[in-house]
C-alpha cells in the first residue's frame, strides 16, 4: 500500500494495527514524512481557504483583526479568541469535552483557588416550573428553555436528581434555520444575560463560568451509544438577536466550554451522572448560551429517537479570582 493510501485509511479511521506499523515504518523516510505533512496540512487548512470561509468571515485576516482588538491583559482572557473556527456543527453532535473539563481543573490548583459565587439566574434549572412541553425553536429572550422535542415530567421512576420534575428528551431536531440539516441531537437552549454580573467580578480579576448538569440514561437494556453534552458559549451583543443568525452566529462566540459523556444505557449506566463545562468569562461577554443535548454520536446510524433519557439540576455558577494573591489568601 502506498503512503497516501495508508494515510487515507488513517484519516478514514479504518487503518489496522499492522497497517499503522507499516505507515510508521515508512515515515522514517523524508519523502514519506513530507507526504504526511502535506496531507494533514491540507486537511486542516482547507476549510479556511474555500469560498464559504470568506462568507463566514473566517479567513485569516478576519481572525488576526479579532486578535488585534483584544488587549493583552491576562492570559486566560485570551482564550476566547482562540475559538476562531466555526463551531457550527458542534451543536449537532460533536465530541470532546470531558478532558476539557479536566484540563481546567488541572489549571485551578496552580492558579490558586477561585471563589465560588452565587448560582446565576439560570431559570428553571430543575425543570420544576413551566409548561410540560418545552417550546420549540431557538430562544428569543433570556431565561427560557426552548429547543427540540422534549418535556418536563413529574417522575418517581426514575427518581429526579432534585425536586420532583425532570426533563425528558424525546426526539432529535434539525438545527434552527438549517433547512434540510440532519437531526441527530435533541437540543435544549437557554440564553443567560451576563451583564448584571459585571459588578461581581473584581477589577483586574478573572472570572470563570461553570455549567453543570445531571443526565440519566434510563434504558433498562444496553442499546446504541448516545452522547450527553452540556455546552456554554459566550457572546457580545443582544441575546434577542442570536436566534436570527443561529447557528452561523456561533462563529462570533467569545469563548466556550464543553462537557460530554457517552452512554449505552442498561445496568451499567450508573444512574444520574454529572457533567460540567467551564469557560473563562471575558470582559466583553454580554450573554451566554447554555445548551443541554442528548444525541447520537457522529457517524452513528442509529435513529435519533429518545424518550428514556433525562436531564435535571442544571446549574450555572460564576467563579471569580482577584488578581492579587493576597486577596486570594484573604478569602
Amino acid at each position: 500500500m502506498t503512503t497516501d493510501e495508508l494515510l487515507q485509511r488513517w484519516s478514514g479511521g479504518s487503518i489496522t494495527a499492522d497497517e499503522l506499523r507499516e505507515l510508521t515504518a515508512k515515515l522514517a523516510k523524508p519523502e514519506h514524512q513530507s507526504a504526511l505533512l502535506d496531507d494533514w496540512l491540507l486537511e486542516s487548512s482547507l476549510p479556511d481557504r474555500l469560498p464559504g470561509a470568506a462568507v463566514a468571515g473566517l479567513q485569516e485576516s478576519a481572525m488576526n483583526r479579532r486578535i488585534e482588538r483584544i488587549a493583552p491583559v491576562r492570559a486566560k482572557q485570551w482564550a476566547g479568541w482562540l475559538s476562531w473556527r466555526p463551531l457550527t456543527a458542534a451543536a449537532a453532535g460533536i465530541v470532546l469535552g470531558i478532558f476539557c473539563t479536566s484540563v481546567l481543573f488541572a489549571i485551578s490548583p496552580m492558579r490558586k483557588a477561585m471563589k465560588f459565587n452565587n448560582v446565576l439566574t439560570l431559570l428553571d434549572g430543575g425543570f420544576e416550573s413551566g409548561p410540560a412541553k418545552v417550546p420549540a425553536g431557538f430562544p428569543r429572550r433570556t431565561g427560557l428553555w426552548t429547543g427540540d422535542d422534549s418535556e418536563r415530567v413529574t417522575s418517581k421512576t426514575p427518581k429526579p436528581s432534585e425536586g420532583s420534575r425532570v426533563l425528558r428528551f424525546i426526539k432529535a431536531g434539525a438545527e434552527p434555520n438549517e433547512i434540510g440539516g440532519s437531526a441527530t441531537g435533541c437540543d435544549l437552549y437557554q440564553l443567560v444575560d451576563l451583564r448584571p454580573l459585571r459588578a461581581q467580578i473584581p477589577p483586574q480579576g478573572e472570572a470563570m463560568l461553570k455549567l453543570s448538569a445531571d443526565f440519566l440514561d434510563a434504558r433498562p437494556q444496553t442499546g446504541p451509544q448516545l452522547q450527553f453534552v452540556c455546552r456554554i458559549n459566550l457572546f457580545a451583543g443582544s441575546p434577542e438577536d442570536l436566534h436570527a443568525i443561529w447557528p452561523t452566529g456561533l462563529d462570533e462566540n467569545l469563548g466556550s466550554g464543553f462537557g460530554e459523556l457517552l452512554s449505552h444505557g442498561g445496568p451499567g449506566a450508573n444512574g444520574w451522572r454529572k457533567l460540567a463545562a467551564h469557560c473563562v468569562l471575558p470582559a466583553q461577554a454580554d450573554f451566554a448560551l447554555v445548551r443541554i443535548i442528548c444525541q447520537t454520536p457522529k457517524g452513528s446510524r442509529a435513529p435519533a429517537v429518545f424518550g428514556q433519557q433525562f436531564a435535571d439540576n442544571i446549574l450555572l455558577q460564576l467563579r471569580t479570582q482577584p488578581l492579587e494573591p493576597d486577596s486570594v489568601v484573604a478569602q
Binding site: 487503518i15 499503522l20 515515515l27 486542516s44 474555500l50 493583552p72 475559538s83 466555526p86 463551531l87 479536566s102
Partner: protein, 184 residues
C-alpha cells in the same frame, strides 16, 4: 507593560504564526475538526498559564505539540472509538514518528506558508462546481448524503469526486512546490 504580559504577547504571536502546523498535527491525529479546535484552545490556555507562572519555554512549538499529544491521548482513552486505539503500542510509535515529522517541519523555513500559498492558487484554479463541492464538505461540514442531495449526485459518486478532488489538490500543491524549488 509587565514582563508577564510581554511574554504572553510574544507567545501569542508565535502561537498564531505556528498554528497551521499545530492545527495539522492535532487535526491529523484526532481526525475530528471540532475536537481539534477545542484541543488547540486548551493548549493555548495551558501555555498561557505556564507563562503566567514564569516558566521559561525554550521550544514553544514542541512544547505545544507535547501538551496537545497528552490531550489527544486522553481524548482517545475516553472515547475508545478508533479501532487502532486497542493497540496502544503501535499508536504510540506512530505518534512518536508524527511528532518527529512535525519537528522536522519546524526547521524548514516557510514550510506551512509556502504550502498554504500553493493551496490558495490550486483552489483558485478549480472550477466553481468543484470549489462548491469542497465548500460543502469542508466549510459547511455538510453530511455526505446532504451533499449528494444538493448536487443531485449519488452518495457514492460524491464520495469518489471528493476523494479525487482532494488528491488533485494535494498533487497540485506538490507540483507547485517542486516548481518553486526548481526556480530557486
Amino acid at each position: 507593560m509587565s514582563t508577564e504580559s510581554h511574554a504572553i504577547q510574544q507567545a501569542a504571536a508565535e502561537f498564531i504564526r505556528d498554528r497551521h502546523l499545530l492545527g495539522a498535527f492535532v487535526t491529523g491525529l484526532l481526525r475530528d475538526v471540532h475536537a481539534a479546535e477545542d484541543v488547540l484552545q486548551e493548549v493555548w490556555v495551558l501555555l498561557a498559564a505556564e507563562l503566567e507562572k514564569g516558566t521559561g519555554i525554550e521550544n514553544q512549538a514542541a512544547w505545544c505539540r507535547g501538551v496537545a499529544r497528552n490531550l489527544i491521548r486522553r481524548h482517545w482513552e475516553k472515547r475508545q472509538t478508533a479501532k487502532v486505539v486497542a493497540d496502544s503500542e503501535a499508536l504510540e510509535a506512530f505518534t512518536d514518528r508524527v511528532e518527529q515529522c512535525f519537528a522536522w517541519a519546524d526547521t524548514q523555513e516557510h514550510f506551512a506558508t509556502a504550502r498554504l500559498a500553493a493551496l490558495d492558487e490550486c483552489v483558485a484554479s478549480l472550477p466553481d462546481r468543484s470549489r462548491r463541492l469542497l465548500s460543502l464538505k469542508y466549510t459547511q461540514r455538510a453530511a455526505m448524503d446532504r451533499i449528494a442531495e444538493e448536487t443531485g449526485q449519488s452518495f457514492e459518486a460524491v464520495k469518489k469526486v471528493l476523494i479525487r478532488l482532494r488528491a488533485a489538490l494535494l498533487e497540485c500543491v506538490r507540483r507547485k512546490l517542486s516548481q518553486e524549488e526548481w526556480n530557486t
